[in-house]
Symmetry: C2
Subunit: 265 residues, 2 copies
């Protein structure tokens, strides 16, 4: 039996860099599928391209409209290719008029063994086993697909700052790869729920990911939980941001990520 994440990001090639997919009931959110799995599906269209070289280095996903339940098509374009780097554009379209719901670009690159230095520091956290799993949330099936354990910071509990430390693992556990890592980058709860302990509608406008680990490093990681850190900087004009980090349990920085999110007063 395949993992629900692999079912969710599965694509049927239609030729000419067009791929057919379908939203997965297990990853639905309140008004649209979980944005992380949408990002992973779009990345997957490039990952499985026979001309693709290297590993994902950057992924920017702009959420233009709510993805509707049901079938969709992903269209990709290889914009520029060198021996070591590739630039891609990707769009998710839906409906009879091929309306664009997601507008994305990515860079793939062959990583080199060279000078390495991690200046950011991984958070000290209560061990995964000693933290309590976030309970399921009605109307949010995707919550059941992640074992999320907050070690610092909780949504809808007002605190002095919006810094949060959480453990995250696929449920059931699944070996980490770039698609799964991209999806985990959207797992953070909205920072505005830490500034004001009241629920308001929110929607991610744009998510940016820089990948700092290659395929081999991720393969070594296996299906262990990751540490997810996020911190908001500003909330203004109807939009708030956060910056995030995804760490392995042994202090390897796997990805850094940023979002800007719309909210309704």
């Amino acid at each position: 039996m395949s993992h629900p994440f692999d079912d969710a990001i599965r694509l049927q090639p239609l030729g000419d860099r067009r791929f057919a997919g379908t939203t997965h009931p297990g990853y639905l959110g309140m008004v649209a599928p979980y944005g992380g799995v949408t990002a992973a599906t779009i990345l997957n269209a490039v990952l499985r391209d026979p001309e693709r070289i290297g590993d994902p280095l950057t992924l920017t996903v702009n959420y233009a409209a709510a993805v509707k339940q049901g079938p969709f098509v992903i269209e990709t374009r290889l914009v520029r290719s060198t021996r070591t780097t590739q630039h891609w554009s990707m769009q998710l379209v839906q409906g009879e008029r091929d309306e664009i719901a997601i507008n994305a670009i990515a860079v793939f690159a062959i990583r080199r063994d060279t000078f390495s230095h991690t200046e950011a520091t991984a958070p000290e956290m209560t061990p995964f086993e000693a933290c309590v799993r976030t309970p399921p949330l009605e109307g949010m099936p995707w919550f059941g697909r992640y074992d999320i354990r907050h070690a610092r910071g909780r949504p809808l509990v007002k605190q002095d700052d919006s810094l949060s430390h959480s453990w995250v693992r696929d449920d059931p556990p699944r070996p980490l790869d770039h698609a799964a890592l991209a999806s985990i980058c959207d797992v953070f709860f909205p920072r505005i729920f830490m500034h004001r302990p009241t629920f308001v509608p929110i929607g991610t406008v744009s998510m940016n990911i820089y990948f700092h680990a290659g395929s081999e490093e991720l393969a070594r990681h296996g299906d262990a939980p990751v540490k997810a850190v996020a911190h908001g900087q500003v909330c203004d004009g109807g939009f708030f941001d956060h910056q995030g980090q995804i760490w392995s349990g042994d202090h390897e920085l796997l990805a850094t990520t940023h979002q800007i999110v719309w909210y309704k007063e």
Copy 2:
């Protein structure tokens, strides 16, 4: 006489959302024009579109190839439009075969007066007037177009961390707008020059900007210098990142920005 920045980002409409521009000798770098002015020129193609609504909210610029000195064409596409938000794709093409040098996407949005909270804090810095201007650099004409004054952190001087605080102002001074702000977001010196005080070739692969100020706020700012803060997180696999903030002198967070940069060992 027009400001050199306005000359540099000037575009001639060719119809069908195609615009002709030319690289400006005053903003050249070692191997390509300064990436900030390229980002600003691409943004300008949308800013001047008669169907554009709202202010820039996000801009992601992927640098696929060095822009060559001389003419170029920018092509834009309005991907999706609602009453309050617009999604755009933009590309800079050059040469007989219209090769893509820059691949970019953006979100424009109408900002609303609503709950506002800035959690990040502006750095305390020696006043602009008391800091020393960075001297011009041979082969980098764009250095002459910015009055950059380092208050903390200097390139090619090894220090314990890669946190830098600098003042930045157009030279000659020019009222701040979104194009100028986008350009300033690329002004940071490479973080790897703080970890290792030796020069190596570098090139920005991708720059991401979140704008946190609307047109009116920027107009109020005028031509005063801004505070530019940057901090690296990781250097691995042949790429390093930084996260940055652009602040007004009176502690308003104007933009947050992130980059991932290629370097040669």
